[in-house]
Symmetry: none
Subunit: 403 residues, 2 copies
């Protein structure tokens, strides 16, 4: 829904409570024809019992046939159209390593790479150097690079990947990639897209020059490329848009990061699903909206481990009574996208979704699963960003439109 339409309709002073329970990569596929998906396979008496009192359907995270990354997928669940509210690659990388990005920082995703004597890239991943080696190189660069006027902060990710952050006054992220995204080419110049980013592009060029000098005798990682220069987006804040006091509970940096991106209050990293529910209980009275993120459904999907993904869903089912005991006005159960173990990757398939509230009009579905959701009243392919207005409505938080 257009935020401008919603704004004047939000009721004030309410304390009804909404829980958004996200099992990452929840949607699945049968391993063989005629079989069941991960969710259909899981024994889930509590989720199924809730289905009887809920409305169900399948949400589409982006557009037909498009597979979302974690960032856009969550932005959609938070009620923002993820095509319109796009997050820069550099910002996502920074969120993923729990980097505390400041409003003026410019971040980028970096790769260590291998170049030949003419500077031509011959391996974009520097032979997939070990993670420790990548970390050493980040330290080496940090110790040796000095650029007057700005600070450069390098944070290692996995293997050849790192996060580049430029911090200082007057920076602007509208700068082109140095990563040509193929071998057989030299790294590109970081060019400003506007006069406002000229100074930033010069800092980046100076960093690249010094970095190449520091790395030149290393092997195989004797150079680097950067892409996705970006800054924290200036979006309307979740709490303002929806009139809620929101709290995010997650175990992994990326998900706490996207919640922070829209201005939610974010809990420190939980160490287990049980601790996530502890946090929910402990903070119940101080917030209206709770985003609870379960990671391992996606991890096992990416591993191709069908049975372990089923197991996580069953563990979530066992935790459900603790959530219901809090008597949320609205409980949304969904995933951010599908990660079928069969595909070992994110996919475009719509995501089984259930909305429980005393005000929902039950649609007669008695199971929470892909095929059961198909017959539900939310439809087989509704946009993920419709969930927030639906949740607000079922929490009795939206006035009627027009007299």
């Amino acid at each position: 829904m257009d935020f401008d339409i919603l704004q004047p309709l939000l009721k004030k002073g309410l304390t009804t409570k909404i829980v958004l329970l996200v099992m990452d990569g929840l949607g699945g596929l049968p391993i063989s024809p005629g079989g069941k998906t991960e969710l259909e396979t899981a024994k889930k008496p509590n989720l199924n019992a809730l289905a009887e009192k809920s409305v169900l359907g399948l949400q589409q995270p982006l557009l037909a046939g498009m597979t979302p990354g974690s960032g856009p997928a969550h932005i959609g669940l938070f009620g923002y159209d993820p095509i319109h509210y796009a997050i820069g690659r550099g910002v996502l990388s920074a969120l993923g390593v729990d980097f505390d990005l400041q409003p003026n920082d410019v971040s980028a995703r970096g790769n260590f790479c291998t170049v030949d004597e003419n500077g031509i890239i011959i391996d974009r991943r520097a032979g997939r150097i070990p993670t420790e080696k990548g970390a050493q190189l980040c330290t080496l660069l940090s110790e040796n690079i000095k650029i007057p006027g700005v600070e450069v902060i390098l944070t290692p990710e996995k293997e050849y990947r790192f996060v580049f952050v430029l911090r200082g006054p007057g920076l602007n992220g509208e700068v082109s990639d140095t990563d040509p995204q193929s071998t057989g080419k030299k790294a590109l110049q970081a060019e400003p897209f506007s006069p406002d980013s000229k100074k930033t592009s010069e800092y980046i060029q100076e960093f690249v020059r010094q970095a190449n000098d520091v790395l030149k005798n290393q092997s195989p990682a004797n150079s680097l490329v950067l892409r996705g220069f970006s800054q924290l987006p200036k979006w309307p804040r979740f709490n303002d848009v929806f009139g809620l006091r929101s709290l995010a509970i997650a175990m992994y940096p990326m998900y706490r990061g996207v919640a922070k991106l829209v201005g939610m209050t974010v809990m420190p990293a939980a160490q287990s699903m049980e601790e996530e529910i502890d946090m929910l209980e402990q903070n119940w009275n101080n917030y209206d909206f709770f985003f609870v993120h379960i990671k391992k459904t996606d991890s096992y999907g990416e591993d191709g481990n069908f049975d372990a993904k089923v197991g996580i869903i069953e563990q979530v089912d066992a935790l459900l009574p603790r959530i219901l005991a809090l008597k949320p006005d609205v409980l949304l159960v969904t995933g951010d996208h599908s990660t079928p173990a069969k595909m070992r990757s994110h996919s475009w398939h719509p995501v089984p979704t259930m909305l429980y509230s005393e005000l929902c009009r039950p649609d007669g579905i008695r199971e929470y699963g892909e095929r059961a959701c198909l017959k539900g009243s939310l439809g087989p392919m509704f946009p993920s960003y419709d969930l927030m207005p639906l949740a607000l409505a079922h929490a009795n938080r939206i006035e009627k439109f027009g007299a």
Copy 2:
């Protein structure tokens, strides 16, 4: 999907194969209440068996309640929003007679008509003169009209209809119709919509002046009107937009024409459905995308011949094993629009659609028919232009969006 969003997500170097099998005018209606549609009536064991391994739904060619012509209906199946990518009437007429339209040609749809002694149109179809008479008049005009600087090419269609083509340097189709589309009025002046089309409008006026002189003693076809001046549209090419090598296989000019319009390679006219499948087999290794068009479902629908339309669907069902033997990664089965025999015309009813792939999430539907498709996971009214991104996704050809 916005082509600019899709472009950077297309995977390179893949050879997965997609077949788009279009039964023209496939959607139907029961002849009497409580009955079955043409597709529901047909014995189609192969299509039904495929349904069990597919996702199903009903696609909407345009907007709710809008009935498409063949041009827009196919443009939608090819992944272009047919409301945005509109084809000029003149261009469509030229495609329909297999005219080899060149990029600078200006074409229009022409009617021979009858005018009184004051030039007032009294019959817009000149008493529906026989097709041979229309052809003779085209020849008579071609032999007698001379306009310095341009060539006029007239191609007879059926009865009083013909295709007008102006060929020469610097032409521009932004010119108003001479056809007032009602009787009791004089033909209109061809006016330029922009300075760039002034010269073209003058050529057209000169053609009209000379044509009226040549026709003045004919009866009843003593004049003519022209409408839908247009040129080949400058659209992004299908192969570039979707990263595919495409081949079109069809029996009739219109369908080979719309495929050519988006830049597909087009086979010579096939003489039978069997020959169409021969062509598919023979060219299997050289293309990634195959548009196969079946005409007669529509022809019999237009004739009001329910049983004959059923028969064509059964013939297609019998040919299906030959297509499946090629092991396409994705097989789309649909129509371009509905042509219920009961209505003897195109209609707005959504079109039963089936997408088969090993990566689809089967939705438990065991029949390919209008009512069965209603329960499918593609939904009851999805836009036809979503089929191309869905096909690409199921052929594993789209990278994820965002990280």
